[in-house]
């Protein structure tokens, strides 16, 4: 009962797509290379003798993505590409049909494990996605550590080489509780001391966070320092923006209620007000508007922390960083496709990555140690902070 199609043996390409909708063809059906869907659609329509009405101008496009949108135009297209209604067998002798035997795996076992059918995803892809989950979990730990009372006194070297506190369960059990000092009832305008305090805390957390990254672990000590110094200004800014309670698009609030907004502060150095506006206009606003979630934030933070183009990074480290960054970028992209939809993922992904130019700009503008010192009004830094901002040797600064 074959249809009459020329099943040309050579068949290279043209037979591989459905002439109706361009989906992958499953062979000739009713004389035309076509997909399962169009084949079944055509048969049903003929057999039920259905008639459809186009809601528009009978010119609707028909392709894989919209083939169900207009049945009239789909059926017309079927006829137009040559599907043969005479190939439909109105009454096939129902001899010997068996009930469909159940073949599928009877269970899916959602179980405590998780999702993800293990089909077309590569091993490395899965690793990347696991890594994203780990990043997110780490971010939650960072939030706890940030709000805690704990604040070590140590040199930058000690901080970098010491074991990571975030994965020290005993430490986190002891010190992971939010400090009562890090909550608020009323807002108060942030003073110099507040900026100083939260920068020191976030530098502390930044290093603990960095130490959890496998890519960071793979670097030499000088390269680690180069990265940390490169992110010394942008990391705390990002954290302040993302974790600020929502008091409007013009206000950034620290956990203890200290806040800043657009109020000009003329007694501050020039760069200070500019940076406030950058944080509000170029970071807070887009991040709020996009409703970035913790996973996206943690990936974003890592992507821009692992910057192969940071100053003083060694050539071999560049490669490691570039690959590591790429892995996270890919994982983030897949996460967005899965959770925000393939349609919106491109836009969202693009917007998020473009925020990187803001960070790069801030990083360069604040790069000069003299600017940093100026920005903080020459406030007394801890030894740790001095080493981070001005370099290890400057123990005397």
């Amino acid at each position: 009962m074959t249809g009459g199609g020329p099943s040309s043996a050579n068949s290279s390409q043209p037979e591989e797509v459905c002439l109706v909708c361009q989906d992958i063809s499953t062979g000739y059906h009713y004389g035309v290379p076509s997909c399962n869907g169009c084949k079944t659609f055509f048969r049903r329509t003929i057999m039920k003798n259905q008639t459809f009405t186009c809601q528009f101008q009978k010119k609707c496009p028909v392709d894989k993505s919209v083939r169900c949108a207009c049945r009239h135009c789909r059926f017309e297209k079927c006829l137009q590409v040559g599907m043969d209604r005479n190939a439909i067998q109105q009454n096939r002798d129902p001899i010997g049909y068996t009930k469909r035997t159940r073949r599928y795996p009877p269970i899916k076992k959602i179980e405590a494990s998780e999702e993800c059918s293990p089909n077309m995803m590569s091993e490395s892809d899965r690793n990347e996605d696991n890594f994203l989950a780990t990043l997110t979990a780490t971010e939650e730990k960072c939030k706890r550590l940030r709000l805690s009372e704990y604040m070590p006194t140590r040199t930058l070297i000690e901080a970098v080489v010491s074991p990571c506190l975030l994965y020290d369960d005993q430490f986190m059990a002891e010190h992971g509780e939010p400090s009562p000092r890090h909550s608020y009832k009323d807002l108060r305008f942030a003073t110099q001391v507040d900026y100083h305090y939260w920068h020191e805390r976030d530098w502390f957390v930044m290093i603990e966070w960095a130490k959890t990254l496998p890519v960071f672990q793979a670097l030499t000590f000088p390269d680690k320092l180069a990265l940390l110094r490169h992110s010394a200004i942008t990391y705390p800014s990002l954290v302040h923006v993302f974790n600020s309670p929502d008091h409007g698009l013009d206000t950034i609030v620290f956990p203890d209620g200290a806040y800043f907004d657009r109020t000009p502060e003329p007694t501050r150095p020039l760069g200070f007000n500019k940076k406030k506006y950058q944080m509000l206009d170029q970071l807070l606003k887009p991040i709020r508007q996009m409703s970035i979630d913790t996973t996206e934030f943690s990936a974003f933070k890592a992507i821009f922390f692992l910057n192969p183009d940071a100053d003083d990074v060694d050539a071999t480290a560049k490669k490691i960083l570039s690959d590591g960054r790429s892995a996270i970028t890919n994982a983030l992209y897949r996460y967005m496709v899965k959770n925000k939809g393939a349609e919106d993922a491109g836009d969202r992904f693009g917007r998020l990555l473009l925020l990187g130019t803001v960070l790069a700009t801030m990083a360069v503008e604040m790069k000069e140690a003299v600017l940093v010192a100026d920005f903080f009004d020459q406030i007394k830094f801890s030894m740790f902070a001095k080493q981070l901002l001005f370099g290890i040797k400057t123990e005397n600064a």
Copy 2:
């Protein structure tokens, strides 16, 4: 529509409850055993692109009795148990009234209202993609103009307000031919004069190019100047990198055979060698390795030219720029999906956008007029260039 669910009547237990609300499941929906309500809720939410806000702590319980209490938490639960938004399909052809007594007359009769084909691609999407084609065509014209002999003498103001030469067919016919001076047989090490020459040419082309962009046309004159100044360093660098004939990853060659490479030039100012390395390591290498095509390049150039975060850009212009940039980003993304495959598009798109951080860094580093002057060794600029680099008022510089 793959089967997969066990419809076996006896079927033990776990499959029978909705993983979102524990109600009785009506089968797998969007990948998860779920009830009719949660299934419909998920679909509606996605299709209407709704966002909900939790009134409490985003920890609301979700079960059969309270599933409607907090839509935010219900939707989160849907995602959390693994409902797959990619399983949501496009709109289908309306099915007609089902046999519960009809209420309203069956007129739909949109009639010849207008175009409106139910394609999944929105009107704006198609416009975006046309725009990408236009951008690419413009880029080809820019290449011709760049290689031509023509070089006007005019002020920056005149350049910005004059009609665009690229779409002046008569002009392009007369002046669009490559100059013999812009070809080479042998390479020669670039001198200060060469840098100067090609920067002036590319600034000229940059402005003609900018004037073709609808988004640019929509800006006020001061905003136009702000954008041009912001890109004054990065635009020529990008063009030099992308159009350089391939003489290896360590060499950038101008059309007339002048080249530079890693050879240190100690007599140059400090920023000079650093910028050379940036161009080679951070732009040339990735751009070559990715084999960026002209369409991608032209979109990339536009995305980073239309920078809402450039200094001195007005607040209303920011919005225009942000929307315009987003449109190009989306078009670029769709282009990559279409031409490089959905699998690789994410990675490729990410890599390209991340190059923006390099541009941002270069832009800031060279921002200070004094640095620019230093970079070019105080060479004599044209009036045009002085105005571009140092501002309109500085006619006397």
